[in-house]
């Protein structure tokens, strides 16, 4: 019987698994290309043999025992029973084999994984095929076929084995295989890493073509964990992962926003979407501390790298999110969770060039409608706003809009917002390598335009990445990562920030006065509040260019030390990140006109254009250095596996900035400082530095991959704390039990593919406080807060002490507990992950409130006195099924969190209904209301009213019953913009070359506060405020207060629950329809794959907020709206 033999039959199970994991694809490809290939290992490994009269087979066995080489051959094809004398002294394996096969027609090839394939030489090969063709020698039948992946692409490297034997082969580069001498009752087993193993009964088939399916179970999947990777099966922590290819299905220009809805416990909210300046908030498992602080982001192993949002989704291999003690390896900054980003690396094989091009249009999900001229006039006339009252005849003139200059009726948004804003991205990547060098190189260009009509606001992003791994020496691998990126954000002057969120011109839109034209009937720009927003959008008031250039560089050397101890290695990483931000704002004035009806004349009010020109120039540099050294050891003996390391890491950062301004430019042609008036020059500058030093290690042990145990410990030093309080120790411990591996499951309940119980406990820190609070420092006031002396007045230096120092300041400490049960049944038909977590945060930095009187004058330092807890449940359900050519994948997740303040030194005098202790961290303190006074009767019947109330006003409730409505009637509402429940549903359907994917995402238990009338300036009342307002005619039905001018009549603008809205929503976050063109069709164009797709984001929205996007966080409702995107793209692989 002819057998497919792997000598490694004797190998221990771990090595077997390693063999399985190996990319056999490349092995086969190499075989087809090369006869003999020398590898570094084969060249470096010298063998000494002294055998006499041994068969070749025995010699080969001996070589296997001495080295990493493993031989593969087919008995029928080569005869290894020939007796030889093998005497070699320090010879490389090639020389040995050449000698052994000297007289045989035998060929061999060596792979990078030290496999040596032995096969017939050319002569025998030809002979064999001749006989095959002549059908002479086939006694038993031969089965052949082609194996493809889900998209129909040939899949090389699939292992095909006759079940119950070790007879088998692997598919070639075209996915083809052929197995001879197959018994009739045989079953073929097809297996491939990352794919579901499939068994096919042969019966009387001679051709078996097979489409492999992605392994829904993911047992073999490898996930990134802190400072390493781990097989998903043996993971004991709570780690959510998402593959880069999934993120690509959404046309997002911001990587962070693509994470929403995909994973349990990862709360992602998009608060604004200005081009290149999106505001995306990520909270891992909600909030644990009122000090806030987001998750720690690690990009390719390096912390504190900026620009996570700007990473090209096409460069992402995977993102792992560490939610529990698995983050403890990051110690002092891990308390709010850790996001690990792994970028793509090269892989062995011929170079593949991939081009992905996206062309899309975006539009706002929601923009609150504003009143038009007659509505505006009606509203403010009712409000008796001084200077803003119109007669009925005048309002009628507005309605008719017959006199555009004096009584216009136009839609301001028509002049300010375009229907669609284009955006496009293009990525070209090159990926490939051999056993010596592997490379992934990519370049991306991204362009986004703003919603503003004829606006200049836009964003250009250019990035290149190069990830290279070089196996330079037998035991040494060097990796080089380089990322270069340039972000160009252009904004028209007047575009502004509210709460650090780029809101574009939406603040100006809110106070557009529709009773005045933006342009007169002759096309001249008109004036509103000394301003014309339609002109400003176009950059007439100047331009602000913000350019950030980033260089991330990183080199890693990994050195295996088998000569000291098998499994021992040293790894060192050095990273240097540089970023420069250059901002240049050149302001100028533009022509705008007043109009006199009496004379019919227009007067240009732009009287001092030279004076109005000013230049602000700003440079900021940051330099970050990270050094990491790691000594690791991986070893298996029998069923025991050990994986451990100790490491050292240090990080330091330096920043510096300088800024200068000049005004009064004679010309607006040259925006450089020299061209301005030197008498007006001002400048400023400063710097900052910081460092961390950390030691850490991990010990992981598994037995039979059934009993899992892990322990990590980190010692961190942070400059934020005084020298004697700097050091913190952060342990993490976790364990897992794979019940499905137990015998009582394995034989009896075959539908159980995986069942794992795991638990973890860890202590992590957070140092999210200002630096150097332990030091008594004195700072100079900036020019914003100066003092002026002298008969010829000039600014004098003023110095202040930066608050009372706290010599005891130290880490905020989180104690995090997690238990979970994972299961997978019926080959993916049902999978689940159920987690419960509890986290208690101690030492939260809080200022002592209750006990330190104001008259001490002290600016209190943060002290480690606060306590809070957070707990929650997360459930992930998956379902995968294949019906013929049709397959689908459903993934639903839901997460609940509930946090609570345990202690924060709250004043004992705070009434119960205003207390924070014992309640959720986030809350609003607001007046309680009960609708509005709809009628005079209702007004009269209400005994206690806030001073100044009228019919039609908001009805405030006398909560404490003291007959007065004052601050003590405010109640605490334990809600916030951060949801308590999040959920997501990912649906994926495939049929032949077609794919359809939908991601639904939602949240519950969140509120948002919107009241534009709190603006310290005039507003155009939004339509929702106008339409439902109280009027005598509409008294019973009205739900909004009477018309009022919020700046002088502040009764209704008081912060009250009247203005809170339920921010729960369900949205179709993204959807994609893709089609892969048939292979025979595209191969003519020398493409190996071609895919076209249509996708979109934020396509549907079900919510209660209505007028605004429910994710917005802005009291005034001013924000650059979240965008809806429609996109078409192609993905071509050469």
């Amino acid at each position: 019987m002819k057998k497919f033999c792997v000598f490694g039959n004797r190998l221990n199970p771990v090595l077997k698994k390693i063999l399985r994991v190996m990319k056999l694809t490349t092995v086969i490809m190499l075989i087809s290309m090369l006869h003999v290939s020398a590898t570094v290992y084969s060249q470096a490994t010298k063998l000494t043999l002294n055998m006499e009269d041994a068969t070749i087979k025995e010699v080969l066995l001996e070589i296997e025992s001495m080295s990493k080489f493993r031989f593969i051959y087919q008995n029928e094809e080569v005869d290894l029973n020939k007796k030889v004398d093998a005497k070699f002294d320090n010879e490389v394996v090639e020389n040995i084999l050449n000698k052994l096969f000297e007289e045989e027609d035998i060929n061999y090839s060596i792979t990078a994984t030290h496999l040596i394939l032995i096969k017939p030489g050319q002569e025998l090969e030809n002979e064999r095929y001749r006989r095959l063709v002549e059908n002479e020698m086939v006694q038993q039948k031969t089965v052949s076929g082609t194996v493809t992946d889900q998209s129909g692409q040939p899949l090389p490297g699939v292992t095909v084995v006759v079940k119950g034997t070790i007879q088998g082969t692997v598919t070639n580069a075209d996915g083809e295989y052929s197995l001879a001498n197959i018994p009739d009752n045989a079953t073929l087993v097809f297996s491939f890493v990352g794919m579901r193993t499939q068994e096919i009964e042969v019966g009387n088939q001679r051709t078996i073509d097979l489409q492999m399916q992605v392994d829904a179970i993911g047992i073999e999947e490898v996930v990134a964990i802190g400072y390493g990777t781990q097989k998903k099966a043996t993971v004991t922590g709570s780690i959510a992962t998402v593959q880069g290819e999934e993120l690509q299905k959404m046309p997002a220009t911001n990587l962070a926003s693509t994470l929403a809805g995909r994973m349990t416990g990862v709360v992602v909210n998009t608060r604004g979407s200005a081009p290149g300046a999106e505001s995306v908030q990520i909270n891992i498992r909600g909030k644990n501390s009122w000090q806030g602080g987001g998750p720690l982001i690690i990009i390719d192993g390096i912390a504190n790298r900026s620009g996570f949002e700007r990473l090209n989704p096409n460069d992402i291999e995977s993102i792992s999110i560490l939610k529990d003690a698995s983050a403890a390896i990051y110690g002092s900054r891990a308390a709010n969770g850790v996001i690990l980003v792994t970028t793509k690396r090269g892989k062995e094989g011929k170079p593949t060039i991939e081009y992905i091009g996206d062309f899309g249009v975006t539009q706002p999900t929601r923009i609150p409608e504003l009143t038009n001229s007659w509505q505006y006039a009606t509203y403010y006339t009712e409000a008796k706003r001084n200077g803003y009252m119109w007669s009925d005849e005048e309002i009628e003139k507005f309605r008719q809009g017959s006199d555009h200059n004096l009584y216009p009726n136009y839609e301001p948004y028509d002049l300010l917002i375009q229907d669609f804003a284009p955006q496009t991205t293009h990525t070209v990547s090159l990926r490939g390598g051999n056993d010596a060098v592997k490379y992934y190189v990519s370049g991306q260009y991204l362009y986004q335009e703003s919603f503003f009509k004829e606006g200049i606001d836009d964003f250009n992003n250019y990035s290149v990445r190069s990830n290279i791994d070089a196996h330079v020496h037998d035991n040494l691998t060097l990796s080089f990562n380089l990322l270069g990126r340039r972000e160009d954000k252009r904004r028209a002057v007047g575009s502004d920030f509210v709460d650090n969120i780029d809101v574009g011109f939406f603040q100006h839109f809110l106070h557009t006065d529709p009773t005045k034209p933006l342009y007169y009937s002759n096309g001249y720009p008109a004036i509103q509040y000394d301003y014309n927003v339609a002109e400003a959008i176009k950059g007439k008031a100047g331009e602000n260019n913000n350019r950030t250039t980033t260089l991330n560089s990183q080199v890693t050397a990994k050195w295996d030390l088998p000569f000291i101890l098998e499994g021992l290695f040293l790894e060192g990483t050095a990273a240097y990140d540089f970023a420069n931000t250059r901002q240049k704002q050149f302001s100028k004035s533009y022509d705008y006109y007043s109009y006199s009806n009496a004379t019919g004349e227009y007067t240009n009010l732009n009287t001092t254009p030279i004076m109005d020109r000013g230049l602000y120039d700003y440079y900021y540099n940051s330099y970050k250095y990270t050094l990491n050294g790691k000594l690791g050891y991986t070893y298996s003996f029998g069923e025991h596996n050990i994986n451990t390391f100790v490491a050292y890491e240090q990080y330091s950062v330096n920043t510096e900035w300088i800024q200068a301004t000049r005004n009064t430019f004679l010309s607006d042609q040259i925006p450089f400082l020299f061209a301005g008036d030197a008498n007006t020059q001002k400048n400023d500058g400063s710097g900052y530095e910081f460092a961390y030093r950390n030691y850490f290690g991990r010990f992981a042990y598994t037995y039979k991959e059934k009993y899992l145990f892990e322990f990590s410990l980190r010692r961190d030093e942070s400059l934020k704390f005084p020298p004697d309080k700097r050091i913190g120790w952060f342990p993490g411990i976790s364990a897992g039990w794979r019940i499905s591996e137990e015998d009582f499951i394995k034989g009896n309940y075959d539908f159980v593919d995986n069942l794992k119980l795991r638990a973890s406990y860890g202590q992590m820190g957070s140092d999210n406080v200002g630096d150097y609070q332990y030091l008594a420092t004195a700072a100079l006031y900036g020019s914003f807060d100066s003092y002026v002396l002298g008969s010829n007045p000039s600014v004098v230096s003023t110095m202040y002490f930066s608050g009372t120092p706290n010599p005891n300041i130290t880490w905020e400490v989180a104690n995090s507990y997690n238990v979970a049960l994972d299961g997978m049944f019926w080959q993916g038909l049902l999978g689940f992950e159920l987690e419960y977590f509890y986290s208690k945060r101690n030492n939260i930095l809080a200022t002592r409130n209750a006990s330190v009187p104001i008259y001490t004058g002290m600016t209190l330092p943060s002290e480690n006195i606060g306590k809070a807890q957070n707990q929650g449940v997360e459930l992930l359900l998956t379902h995968y099924r294949k019906l013929g050519d049709f397959s689908y994948n459903i993934n639903g997740n839901v997460s609940f969190t509930a946090n609570k303040i345990i202690y924060m030194d709250e004043s004992p005098n705070v009434p119960d209904y205003q207390r924070r202790e014992g309640h959720p961290i986030d809350s609003w303190l607001l007046y309680k209301t009960d609708g509005i006074f709809n009628t005079q009767e209702e007004f009269d019947a209400t005994e206690v009213k806030r001073a100044g109330a009228q019919v039609g006003d908001i009805k405030f409730v006398d909560v404490n019953g003291d007959k007065v409505i004052d601050d003590l009637d405010r109640v605490r509402l334990y809600d916030s913009t951060l949801p308590k429940v999040i959920y997501g549903l990912n649906l994926d359907f495939r049929y032949k070359g077609f794919e359809f994917n939908m991601l639904w995402q939602g949240q519950g238990g969140a509120k948002t506060y919107i009241n534009p009338t709190t603006r310290n300036g005039d507003i155009n009342p939004p339509l929702w405020l106008y339409k439902d307002r109280w009027t005598p005619e509409n008294a019973e039905k009205a739900s909004m207060p009477r018309a009022f001018y919020h700046r002088s009549d502040t009764y209704n603008t008081i912060h009250s629950d009247f203005w809170l809205r339920d921010a729960s929503f369900l949205r179709l976050k993204s959807a994609e329809l893709g089609y892969s063109l048939p292979k025979d069709f595209i191969s003519k164009a020398s493409l190996s794959s071609a895919r076209i797709y249509l996708n979109g984001s934020n396509l549907l929205l079900l919510d209660k907020v209505k007028d605004y996007d429910p994710e917005v966080v802005n009291d005034l409702g001013i924000f650059y709206p979240v965008t809806r995107t429609f996109n078409v793209g192609v993905q071509l692989t050469f």
Binding site: L570, A598, S652, Y688, T777, L789, Y800, F801, N849, I854
Partner: protein, 590 residues
């Protein structure tokens, strides 16, 4: 295995060189000094003293406590937008949890701490030369005076407060009691007495103009003792307190350093003049400027357009109540019932009230024109301010708060320039704050340094302090003399009254002379006359022009109803403090 030999040491080297650099964590803030450094260097200490000056009230943007805005808490002005809770204040809602914008508790104690820190450490600062010793003494004097200013201001608002004169540290027992009013006054007096010998009468360097002098310290004492002698704080009418107040005022006068400037209006616009005793220079950096904030936000901006109005928010609107209080130049009172007065209330010749030369028949006290912007006055670039609103004859008796009030825009068209309604920021009450606003500024000059001070104490106040204290102490002739010195400067006829009438004249003079300078809030309360003067709404005026006859009609209307509960005589100890510590609350707030 050649490579191994190289690489192994390399890795080890890398770990040792980078890993064990001990200076990694030896970093300091790059944007700050250490506190210790301040007490080693006289120049840094001076920078610290400079920062303590910020306790003084200022005009600008970044410190909320603006002198002129205190007017909105008196019968002098209304804040158009109700800033600083002025609306709630006049609804009677001020209380511990709504201490409103006049609350200064936190502000002063922050600076008192700064003073205490300085006084506790300044002795350690080494000095070598005599000049340095003088500088050190001077700074100690400045800081004692600044602390006295804080306690004076606190006492005037809250009565007795917690007296803190040493720095606290984190581990201290923080509990303290409120001291009595008299003890608080004693603290002020004692700080001034420590300061006076260390301070000089004036500084040799012009760069130090604006620093505290001996005169400023004594003037604070004068104000404190005047307040202390007043009915609110001296219910028994103890005359010796008035005597002490008179003596304190006389001490300033006897310095012979100060005199009244001849030009009342210009005095507020001149950065250095002989009437100023204590002032704070406006700060024009980054829009914190005189023009950028004060002139355009509170008042009327520049570049008046065709209808006499442009820019400006008109936030601080002067009341009709104050306007009516200005006498005619002949010393008679203004009277709406007098048809001559009513036809040309501003004495600018409106409605044809001119003599043969075209001059107005009557003129108001010159201080009116220096203090208030009104319809028909001249402003930047000699343009005429127009606050009249329409040309319709049926609105003569209506105020905009009447239900059937309507504006007729038929002549000019709504959005046409030339229509006074064109601007949304016209003052509702038709008056705007003007004192210390300079009409010679133009917008283009905004970027350049300027020289308008905010005067905190000036010589005229001291004269009026002396007049009032002398009168109450029984010295009527001294009172008359000093009162008339103030009137004489603006060419107002001398007062010859006596007794209660003289008291009224003194109080009236103080209202007029020091109007809109943050005195009225304190004066009404310490005289305990709120019942009389606040028992009426804040009034505004509506001016309607008849399009046929071109005459203006003036309609006074009630702009804001006001209540002044008895408890308002003292401000509430704010709840944010009571949340932390038990302190006695002022009457009426419990």
């Amino acid at each position: 295995m050649k490579n191994k030999n190289i690489i192994f040491p390399l890795v080890i080297l890398m770990l040792t060189v980078f890993g064990c650099s001990d200076d990694l964590l030896d970093k300091k803030p790059l944007d700050k000094f250490s506190e210790a450094a301040v007490w080693e260097d006289l120049n840094l200490a001076e920078a610290y003293v400079n920062s303590l000056y910020k306790v003084l009230p200022k005009l600008g943007w970044y410190e909320w406590i603006r002198g002129y805005q205190l007017s909105c808490f008196s019968d002098e002005a209304v804040h158009k937008y109700g800033y600083h809770n002025t609306n709630d204040y006049w609804r009677g809602m001020m209380g511990p949890s709504l201490p409103t914008g006049i609350d200064v508790w936190r502000h002063h104690y922050r600076f008192i701490k700064g003073c205490n820190d300085f006084l506790a450490n300044i002795e350690n600062v080494p000095v070598v030369t005599e000049t340095e010793q003088e500088m050190k003494n001077r700074m100690i004097g400045e800081v004692y005076t600044l602390r006295a200013w804080s306690y004076m201001d606190l006492a005037a608002r809250f009565s007795g407060v917690v007296l803190v004169t040493d720095p606290f540290s984190l581990d201290d027992d923080f509990s303290r009691e409120r001291s009595s009013f008299d003890e608080t006054v004693d603290q002020v007096v004692s700080d001034i007495e420590k300061a006076v010998p260390l301070l000089s009468l004036s500084y040799t360097s012009d760069n130090d103009w604006g620093r505290i002098t001996k005169g400023a310290a004594l003037a604070i004492k004068s104000r404190m003792l005047l307040y202390a002698a007043s009915p609110l704080f001296n219910p028994s009418g103890d005359k010796t307190k008035w005597q002490a107040a008179a003596t304190a005022a006389k001490a300033v006068i006897d310095l012979n350093k100060y005199e009244l400037e001849q030009d009342y209006k210009q005095m507020f616009l001149t950065n250095k003049n002989s009437e100023i005793i204590l002032h704070r220079m406006n700060d024009n950096i980054n829009d914190d400027g005189y023009f950028g904030y004060f002139q355009t936000v509170e008042g009327l901006g520049a570049g008046i357009d065709g209808n006499g109005y442009a820019g400006g928010w008109s936030s601080t609107m002067v009341t009709q109540n104050l306007v009516d209080a200005f006498e005619w130049t002949d010393g008679t009172s203004f009277d709406w019932n007098n048809p001559v007065d009513a036809a040309d209330p501003y004495g600018i010749g409106e409605n044809g009230q001119v003599d043969a030369n075209g001059d107005p028949l009557k003129k108001r006290d010159p201080r009116f024109y220096a203090s208030v912007t009104f319809d028909g006055t001249t402003w930047i670039a000699d343009s005429t301010v127009q606050f009249w609103i329409s040309e319709q004859s049926n609105n003569y008796t209506k105020s905009p708060f009447d239900a059937d009030f309507q504006v007729d825009n038929s002549v000019y068209g709504r959005n046409s320039i030339g229509n006074p309604g064109f601007r949304q920021d016209c003052p509702d009450m038709s008056y705007i704050y003007r004192k210390a606003m300079d009409p010679t500024y133009d917008k283009a000059a905004e970027q350049y340094p300027f020289s308008v001070p905010w005067i905190i104490i000036r010589y005229a106040e001291i004269l009026l302090n002396y007049a009032e204290a002398s009168f109450e102490a029984g010295e009527e002739s001294i009172a008359q003399t000093y009162l008339n010195m103030v009137r004489e400067r603006v060419s107002m006829p001398p007062v010859e009254a006596s007794g209660d009438e003289l008291r009224e004249k003194i109080r009236h003079e103080r209202r007029i002379e020091l109007c809109l300078e943050a005195h009225r809030y304190f004066d009404v309360r310490r005289w305990k006359i709120a019942d009389e003067v606040y028992n009426t709404p804040a009034k505004g005026i509506r001016i309607v022009k008849d399009k046929n006859s071109d005459t203006k009609v003036y309609n006074v209307f009630n702009y804001q109803e006001r209540t002044f509960p008895e408890k308002y005589y003292l401000q509430p100890i704010p709840q944010y403090e009571l949340d932390k510590v038990r302190l006695g609350q002022n009457p009426g707030y419990n």
